[in-house]
């Protein structure tokens, strides 16, 4: 059966949802087949994944807590991606934020929490922003490709974090474990009084609204959107492209830095290497599948956080390597990306009656 590609005039409204569902089903199918390939029961895997993700209130709370740092990183990335600035460095900016918060917490352990928590937030935001500004400056001044510089800085940041917890910040009472001393209670983000949810979740809501208002109501926000087409269009519209590049990389670094603050303060209460769980990479996937819009980013953060919680359950229950989660995340991103083709184009059988004439369908891609 010969098929050919025809451009759709109007993508149907339900297409985004259909693509999402197909991509999730396909990714899940392939992942479960891989489970079968290593001799584990896929049915058992599916049940463990579902129960782990959505089977209990505990699991849903866990997913909400894990969604917070992913959401914050992803919000910042979405701003950069809108401008086609590829910040792959949320992971490193997150690490710097965590170190900034730890620095404040260890320096002023006896400050009251209404002083210390904002201070940790500022330290985290500033260090994250600085880590984002480095590739920004390199791109603006020297035209260095930001994909590679942000990625390399992830490795550097993780080694720096390792250095700190093995060296200067190591807890003398930790019996050799690479962790900092536990934070004083005033350095821990308080609980909200709803289950195990903490103030970091509230911070996410605040950050989301702030960003939305910024993009909607400020001149800078408008310029960012307009520069989505790249440097040439920006130059044509006389927009300060370089300044905007520097701004989005710094701002997305600050968001990821704040995510690092939330993680060390609310989730672990001390700095340790295990906080580097790949949230910064998951955030890239989240930003992309949410098509860079704030509300879908919140939903997608929750979905991928729930997936992580579910995968942890499979790991414990069936002794499956943690990499199972990475496989699922990679597949989801790849299938959604591929699926978006079918929003723009459809396949018709050659010689089909209802197909438009070939000449009518020849359009060039943008």
């Amino acid at each position: 059966m010969a098929l050919r590609v025809v451009k759709r005039r109007n993508p149907p409204a339900w297409s985004a949802a259909a693509i999402l569902v197909c991509a999730l089903v396909l990714s899940l199918g392939v992942s479960l087949a891989l489970l079968a390939a290593i001799g584990k029961s896929p049915v058992h895997g599916l049940v463990a994944l579902w129960n782990g993700s959505f089977g209990s209130l505990w699991a849903i709370e866990d997913a909400l807590i894990k969604a917070a740092p992913i959401f914050l990183c992803s919000l910042g990335l979405a701003v950069a991606f809108r401008m086609q600035v590829w910040n792959i460095g949320a992971e490193g900016q997150f690490a710097l934020g965590a170190m900034g918060a730890t620095w404040a917490a260890l320096t002023f352990p006896h400050a009251p929490s209404w002083v210390l928590l904002p201070l940790m937030l500022v330290y985290a935001g500033l260090l994250g922003a600085a880590w984002g500004a480095i590739p920004g400056l390199l791109k603006v001044k020297l035209k260095a490709n930001e994909i590679i510089t942000t990625l390399m800085l992830n490795y550097v940041a993780i080694f720096l974090l390792e250095y700190m917890v093995y060296g200067p910040w190591k807890d003398p009472a930790s019996f050799g474990f690479p962790v900092t001393p536990e934070f004083t209670p005033s350095a821990v983000i308080p609980l909200l009084g709803v289950g195990r949810l903490h103030g970091g979740v509230l911070l996410c809501v605040f950050a989301g609204v702030l960003l939305w208002a910024f993009l909607r109501y400020t001149r800078l926000g408008y310029e960012l959107k307009a520069c989505g087409e790249g440097a040439k269009v920006a130059a044509y519209a006389r927009m300060p492209y370089n300044r905007l590049v520097l701004f989005v990389l710094t701002a997305s670094g600050a968001f990821a830095g704040v995510a690092g603050f939330v993680e060390v303060s609310a989730s672990t209460g001390r700095l340790m290497t295990s906080i580097m769980a790949g949230y910064g990479y998951t955030a890239i996937i989240v930003a992309w599948i949410a098509r860079l819009r704030p509300v879908p980013i919140a939903l997608a953060s929750f979905l991928l956080a729930a997936l992580r919680v579910g995968v942890e359950n499979i790991q414990l229950d069936m002794e499956v390597p943690a990499a199972f989660g990475d496989i699922m995340e990679g597949l989801i991103l790849l299938t959604i990306l591929s699926g978006q083709f079918f929003e723009q184009y459809k396949l018709v059988r050659k010689g089909a009656k209802n197909a438009p004439a070939p000449s009518a369908s020849q359009e060039t891609a943008p």
Binding site: F159, E162, P321, D326, L334, Q340, A365
Partner: protein, 306 residues
Amino acid sequence: MNFDMVIALLAASVQMGTPILYATLGEILTEKSGVLNLGVEGVMAVSALGAFVVAQATGQPWLGVLAGGACGVFMALLHAVACVVLLGNQVVSGLAVTILGLGLSSFMGQPFIGLSAPGFTPFAFPLLSDIPLVGDVFFRGDALVYLSYLLPFALWFFLQRTRLGLEIRAVGEEPEAALAAGLSAERLRMIATLAGGFLIGMGGAYLSLAYTHLWTNGLSGGRGWIAVALVIFAFWNPQRAIIGAYLFGGVMAFQLRLQATGSHISSSLLLMLPYLLTIVVLAASAARGRGDEAPAGLGVNTAPEE
């Protein structure tokens, strides 16, 4: 540090640089057709495992290399389907391939951790190894090292002197004009991406069959990303890739030796070196370049063919 240690360090630079060289050449071939494959890191990881598993099962290192190449082709195919056929964003697709590839290699590789496989061992190349200095540095390696000496020139010849190479470059430089001239962008980009994937896969195979003969997680260790950066450093020129690959091989070898001698510098700080150097090298070559060395159509998708 005495003279023998310098020679040993240089020889180690060549060995550590070889997998990076294979991957860089594969990425140059891919990018020449206008396809940016950021999945190199994931492709190498999967190939390293594929090569290891086959060599271990058959006892034949060369079959392992073929399997590594085949795994590279498979992973590159995922990327090509997503962005050459289905016109997805090349940056995002490459990242997805990296995430998937790293996940796949540690997931499927779990049962092999700590096992060893027959691989490649160094041998003195007849005659050439007797050349003073040069022989010691370049001709006491393994078969894959020797093979890698020919590749940059073969790739240069292919791209510059063959019809197919010309067509691939045409599609990479000016996709629209190439289409108008009757070339199939889809076909040419597919060929370049898959062949590039094979070379990247050989780099992965080198890691598990020559660099170590053991399987451990995280063998790729950022080398794929370094290769992506080296393509820019090399200004898409296969011969220049040699310099870049050995430079990085040198830094990695130096850092390992420093760690082994028990220096006072923290190992975490030493481990940063190659990644910091990548940033420096990238920034320096971006600043030095004219800015037009990249294929003009790199990252730009072409419309589907009817």
